[in-house]
Symmetry: C2
Subunit: 146 residues, 2 copies
DNA sequence: ACGAATCCCGACCGCTGGAGTAAGGTAAGA
DNA sequence: TCTTACCTTACTCCAGCGGTCGGGATTCGT
């Protein structure tokens, strides 16, 4: 039950973009630096985020990425699903698939917990926005005066 | 963010034991059948459960396993931790490790969500017991009349 | 005493998926 | 037209999951 680096890095990058929101496109090199994600890897992670419409890209010189929407309107859950797929601690309780598709005969007792667990995770991720994160953060990483 | 089969099978086996609670030791072969877990694999999974004191084993003929405590006193979270390790959607928010050991400089904004997520998971798993599961289950798997 | 039933335990092993790296192509500004 | 920067595919490495196998130690029934 670990979030992979895709989700971790993806969210970090989005937080960086949120902090820079409104200043026009930011090149990958800057985002990579700010979010401490390997540039070449980050490049790959931005692809799904763009395709999902969470960020918009500008090509050419002075190009880069920026949030497609203000930070208040971007839920962590959206980012999570793009990077990690449908939320599901177990295959039998996938968000997308038809409910009640438990492979066990007539359903099994354990499914109850996994269902509660999934709903709990969804609740947390979907009730938090990028704006919440940058507002509550004690300080910005890798940036502080003497 | 998937629970591995260790957690899945471990819980299933414990639910089986919970249903058979009070009838003396049940051999692995029966548990494997009832919980639909490969016998040889299940054998391996019972080891940590026994060491953690969640089940007690009886060796020799007519031996087997049984719950060390009644189902009402066994939290799903306990089983989970034995099978999957400390609850933590991300290394920086491990249950066991010293709090505030975020490797990022001065903490990062994303940690807030992971912390909320972890607490949410803990809450769900620790507030559910084996008794809850067998009470709410619609029917027992692999057992129904014509 | 002996053998069958059962737990105990370490060794082994194939495969998938995560975590990147590499390299070249395409578009847009100076 | 050169440089910046995004876009895309392909490839590699390796840890861990998901088991299997084989043998040993215990205890019960006869």
């Amino acid at each position: 039950m670990k979030v992979s680096t895709r989700g971790e890095y993806g969210l970090r990058a989005m937080v960086s973009l949120a902090r820079m929101y409104g200043r026009g496109p930011m090149p990958l090199s800057v985002i990579a630096q700010d979010s401490a994600v390997p540039l070449a890897y980050l490049e790959q992670l931005m692809l799904p985020l763009r395709r999902a419409g969470l960020v918009v890209s500008t090509r050419g010189a002075h190009g880069g990425y920026q949030l497609a929407r203000p930070p208040e309107q971007v839920k962590v859950g959206e980012i999570y699903r793009v990077m990690e797929g449908p939320i599901a601690p177990m295959d039998c309780v996938r968000e997308d698939a038809d409910e009640e598709t438990c492979p066990m005969i007539d359903g099994c007792a354990t499914r109850i917990v996994w269902l509660k667990l999934r709903d709990s995770i969804v609740e947390v991720l979907d009730s938090t926005t990028l704006a919440d994160l940058i507002a509550q953060a004690p300080r910005r990483p890798a940036e502080q005066p003497a």
